[in-house]
């Protein structure tokens, strides 16, 4: 039986975890989108983690996993008790998620720029296995788009017409040099269909992430979730001599 937790319980669940001050802002940036994904989009639950027909969420941006862990606990996919041990030596819940420690995690992450290629492999593999129902979602951050490996994969996924794949980009303007012209555009020129939404608005998120929506048009889809600029302003030292 999944515990009966709602969105309003997530704050308290997050409070059970401590010790990852550095990633706190990021943790909250993903809270709404991760909640909407598990609450109303993904066809996966504690009983279907081994089911080939389940939807997959690849967390590429593994930073700040407290929001993710809180949502998984709220949905009964990890034990609530585990939250208090967050980050401890023997805990299953690290500062980056580990698939070999948590059944609900599809892909271990932490290093930026890995998840989208893995998600493309899953999406391609599902198609090869004629499993046409499952959808693959991949959560990225706007800063992560600095990694060249992401751009290798954006182009590849577009060319492969992987319409079972949706990239979800959290845009809290944390990329040091930014993305003039917008993030969705960078996917669209490679053959993706893009939509940009308010990353806190559950209705907009649910509509944009809709499973049926993802299949229309024979191309992968990107949902850019705009958020307020991250507090942690990164390394824009070069602006000094640019100005």
């Amino acid at each position: 039986m999944a515990p009966n937790f709602g969105y309003e319980d997530l704050t308290n669940l997050i409070r059970l975890m401590t010790g990852d001050e550095k990633h706190e802002a990021s943790a909250h940036s993903t809270l709404d989108v991760v909640w909407v994904l598990y609450d109303s989009v993904l066809r996966v639950n504690a009983a279907s983690l081994e089911d080939p027909m389940r939807d997959r969420l690849v967390i590429s941006k593994g930073h700040g996993p407290m929001a993710l862990y809180a949502v998984l606990a709220a949905k009964g996919m990890i034990p609530i008790d585990e939250l208090v041990a967050y980050g401890r030596y023997d805990s299953a819940l690290g500062w980056h998620p580990d698939r070999l420690r948590i059944g609900a995690i599809e892909v271990s992450s932490g290093s930026l720029g890995h998840g989208l290629a893995i998600a493309v492999g899953i999406a391609y593999g599902l198609r090869l296995c004629r499993l046409l129902t499952p959808r693959v979602f991949c959560l990225l951050g706007d800063g992560e788009l600095d990694e060249g490996s992401v751009h290798e994969t954006i182009a590849l996924a577009g060319r492969l017409h992987l319409d079972n794949l949706t990239a979800v980009v959290i845009d809290n303007e944390s990329a040091t040099y930014g993305w003039p012209g917008g993030i969705a555009r960078r996917f669209e020129v490679e053959g993706w269909r893009g939509v940009t939404v308010d990353g806190h608005d559950h209705q907009q998120l649910a509509k944009a992430l809709d499973r049926d929506e993802s299949l229309r048009g024979g191309s992968p889809r990107v949902v850019v979730c705009e958020l307020a600029r991250a507090d942690l302003r990164p390394n824009s030292i070069n602006k000094v001599w640019e100005s």
Partner: protein, 302 residues
């Protein structure tokens, strides 16, 4: 012998075709290398030959995703672009996730020296070792050994690496596989010849009364065959087509409980800034028969 004039690369292509026919979970991931030679496979096995373009980081990530779907990915490209370019992907996407993939390279240490250092990869096996995961490594020395060793690599439970080369021995060794084969036996010491080094080792040791072991599987290292021939105070020299000392720590580990001497020959100065031929590079690294003979005499003292 199936075909005397077949290269390792050609032997690999036909072995892959048989694998795709036999194992419906097999998927080949290419990065623009060998595409022309293998593209016909996509007609017979639609979708199971995936060329990602010149995107080696994506190739490894995609392989990880394929394996997460229960498919068996084989990633094939030129050695430095298979191992060095996406090394962190091999670490995080394959080893750390606990996944299975077969990596197959061409180019070896300096198969085409005209291309210079960027296309040379004597350090490939050492780099895979440095990631600390368990990676099975196969180094065939003759085209006829490619198919059986590919089968071993594909049977591996974790990440496996098959290192193809233009450099080959004149003939295949019978029973070459996961255990070392004793090619000659002698009283003055043991030489382990890895893959394509065998011919030069045999030429160099002809009058030296040495035991020559031939190794085509170097991870896991065949400890029992070495122990069986080592004797009470073994003197062992390992000759590898890769970075000097690639496997010498494993030889040391096998012999750690007996007094012993271990010598290692391989590719030393990796960046010669020279072109020319493979044979000229063999001479430069002392891996030609006269160079090996000098090293053997100095090490074994005969």
């Amino acid at each position: 012998m199936e075909n005397q004039n077949q290269s390792m690369r050609e032997a690999f292509h036909s072995a892959v075709e048989k694998w795709l026919a036999a194992d419906p979970s097999g998927v080949v991931v290419l990065a623009d290398i060998s595409v022309a030679a293998m593209s016909h496979l996509n007609e017979r096995y639609p979708g199971r030959l995936l060329n990602v373009g010149i995107r080696e980081q994506a190739a490894i990530g995609v392989a990880a995703g394929l394996n997460l779907c229960g498919l068996h990915p084989l990633v094939h490209t030129y050695a430095p672009f298979l191992i060095e370019r996406p090394l962190e992907m091999i670490k995080d996407d394959l080893f750390h996730q606990g996944l299975r993939a077969t990596l197959v390279s061409i180019g070896a240490s300096y198969d085409e020296p005209g291309y210079g250092r960027t296309h040379q990869c004597p350090e490939d096996i050492a780099l895979l070792d440095s990631l600390g995961g368990s990676c099975d490594v196969f180094v065939p020395g003759n085209p006829d050994e490619v198919a059986p060793l590919l089968a071993c690599a594909l049977g591996s439970r974790s990440v496996s690496y098959l290192r193809l080369s233009v450099a080959v021995n004149r003939s295949p060794v019978r029973n070459a596989g996961t255990t070392m084969v004793e090619v000659t036996s002698g009283r003055h010491g043991v030489v382990i010849a890895v893959g394509p080094m065998l011919d030069a080792v045999l030429d160099a040791s002809r009058d030296m009364d040495l035991t020559v072991l031939y190794a085509t599987t170097i991870r896991p290292f065949d400890a029992s065959t070495l122990r069986a021939v080592a004797g009470p105070m073994p003197e062992v020299m390992i000759v590898e087509p890769s970075l000097t000392g690639t496997s010498s720590s494993l030889v040391e580990m096998v012999l750690q409980n007996v007094p012993h001497r271990v010598g290692a020959l391989g590719v030393g100065d990796v960046d010669l800034h020279r072109y020319g031929t493979r044979e000229e590079h063999d001479v430069a690294h002392g891996l030609d028969a006269p160079g090996l003979a000098r090293s053997f005499r100095s090490f074994f003292g005969s």
